[in-house]
């Protein structure tokens, strides 16, 4: 294992360097580099198919990369000997389709991984899970099955489920893209509160207003490369690259 002891919190929590990823003939990521500091909230925007989701999936080793380096707290992800499970305990991920376990209640969904993966005491986990469900404002829905919840509610439970593992960084993959408009806000509020609490977040999103509001830094990807990045105010007011300008013109 790449000695994680050398990592100190003042170094980037996630460091991508020249990350390449191809699916057969199609090169999705063509050399992406970025640093995410502890407590930083970055939003990644860009047209569909520009590799945003793949980028997040590479960070918790759901997708292997061909070339380059991904360091999470100093641990190299692009390493055949990588302890994937150890990595994933540090990296939480929330998906566009929520992917809650439909045969388990909301509370059981949140409790499953801490109890079975971290082997923590069931009582402690339950207390934490209830607190997390309260935090995402779904108190009273503990015993509901995912099928009984709205999309937005399911997504908030999915966030709670991820948080129950006490991750150091959270990855959000277009978490509001599949939601009804009226339920989007609740999810965004939850993420914003999380960011305000100091959680390191990497957010792939199409919600520009949200990105402007919560991000410390906004990245624009197109065609597998990072075109430009900047603090949100600057980024949205004065995009430098013509591709960024074109993209923002189209959606704003």
């Amino acid at each position: 294992m790449a000695a994680p002891a050398t990592w100190t919190p003042d170094q980037p929590l996630v460091r991508l360097a020249d990350v390449h990823k191809r699916f057969h003939e199609f090169e999705v990521l063509k050399g992406v580099s970025m640093d995410v500091l502890k407590g930083e909230v970055v939003c990644i925007i860009g047209p569909s198919g520009s590799g945003k989701s793949t980028l997040l999936r590479c960070i918790n080793a759901l997708v292997p990369i061909e070339k380059g380096s991904i360091l999470v707290e100093g641990q190299e992800v692009n390493d055949p000997k990588l302890d994937k499970l150890a990595l994933r305990r540090k990296v939480g991920m929330v998906f566009q389709q929520y992917n809650l376990f439909p045969h388990k209640t909301a509370l059981e969904n949140v409790m499953m991984a801490p109890v079975h993966v971290l082997k923590r005491d069931r009582k402690d986990v339950e207390a934490q899970a209830r607190a997390l469900i309260k935090k995402v404002r779904l108190e009273g829905k503990e015993a509901s099955y995912p099928g009984e919840l709205s999309g937005g509610q399911q997504q908030r439970i999915a966030i709670a489920r991820s948080l129950a593992m006490n991750p150091d960084v959270m990855l959000f993959d277009e978490v509001t893209a599949a939601l009804d408009p009226e339920t989007v806000k609740g999810v965004l509020v939850t993420i914003r509160e999380l960011a305000e609490d100091g959680m390191t977040c990497m957010i792939v999103t199409h919600e520009m207003g949200f990105a402007r509001e919560v991000a410390n830094r906004v990245y624009f990807t197109d065609g597998g490369v990072l075109v430009e990045s900047g603090p949100p105010r600057e980024f949205f007011a004065n995009p430098r690259d013509p591709r960024t300008r074109q993209f923002l013109d189209q959606i704003l």
Binding site: N99, P102, A113, G147, R161
Partner: protein, 278 residues
């Protein structure tokens, strides 16, 4: 299939093997009862022509307790074969989706072999290849014919159960795997806590259907001499030696199977409908 009309050239969804699975319907029962009534009517008419013989219905009722005894063996064999087939078929199905190529290849071979072999051939193999008794230490355990043929029936069942497991696992959305993986769950944990519990529900209707198929296949064992309902019917007919009894008797036997299997078919259908909504 016509669903909605349009002038536009539309591509209808193409589905391979979208045929209905084999299933007993009420019509089978209605046809059976009508045939039985007609057969009894003809039989009674023939019986009256020859003086001094008891009627068809009386004779059938006389033999009913024996037939039921035989039928109980059919049910017992179907239960046991299903139990063995399920207990062995589930691990075999998991072997089909194993990450280890040798385990996958081995499971595939076993599954394909038993799934495609005629049931009767497997039955003969088990009858002829298994010993009539075997000993554990000093105790000799007899292996009666009905038990051996139950093993024979369990073979195609286990292969079909394996395919059911594989199909059910495949049908679980990929997002479930991703979500479990991202929560640092191992493949084994994901399988047992996330995937398989969801499979149980999906597998139940086809599993029940398989059971019904197995049950109506149990009379195959009469060919290898097991004293189940089919064999007993033959015995009864030869001891009565009355040709007019032949058709009503076998129809009567069919009715036993229908009465047993029809509720199972209804329950399967109901479950399928309930799970399909989701």
């Amino acid at each position: 299939m016509i669903s909605g009309r349009t002038d536009l050239p539309v591509l209808k969804p193409f589905r391979i093997g979208a045929t209905e699975p084999w299933r007993i319907t009420l019509w089978h029962g209605v046809a059976l009862v009508i045939a039985l009534i007609v057969a009894i009517g003809i039989g009674e008419a023939q019986a009256q022509a020859v003086a001094g013989k008891p009627g068809i219905i009386v004779t059938m009722l006389k033999w009913t307790p024996l037939l039921l005894q035989g039928f109980a063996l059919n049910i017992a064999m179907s239960f046991l074969a299903m139990a063995i087939g399920t207990v062995l078929g589930v691990p075999l199905g998991l072997g089909l989706i194993s990450l280890l190529p040798p385990a996958r290849a081995g499971s595939w071979l076993i599954t394909q072999f038993f799934r495609n072999a005629p049931w009767l051939v497997l039955l003969f193999y088990c009858m002829l290849l298994l010993p009539f008794e075997f000993s554990i230490g000093h105790t000799v355990v007899p292996l009666p014919g009905w038990l051996k043929s139950t093993f024979g029936l369990a073979l195609p069942v286990l292969a079909n159960v394996a395919e059911l497991v594989r199909g059910a696992v495949r049908s679980i959305p990929f997002g479930q795997w991703e979500a479990a993986e991202s929560l640092a769950m191992t493949r084994r944990q994901t399988m047992w806590m996330v995937i398989l519990p969801q499979c149980v529900k999906r597998m139940t209707p086809p599993w029940m259907n398989l059971y019904a198929i197995l049950t109506v296949a149990t009379p195959l064992t009469s060919v290898v001499g097991v004293s189940e309902a089919m064999t007993l019917t033959g015995d009864i007919l030869s001891s009565e030696s009355r040709t007019e009894l032949l058709v009503p008797m076998y129809l009567y036997l069919l009715l036993f199977f229908f009465i047993y299997c029809y509720p199972i078919a209804r329950a399967t259908l109901a479950l399928e409908k309930r799970f399909a909504v989701k």
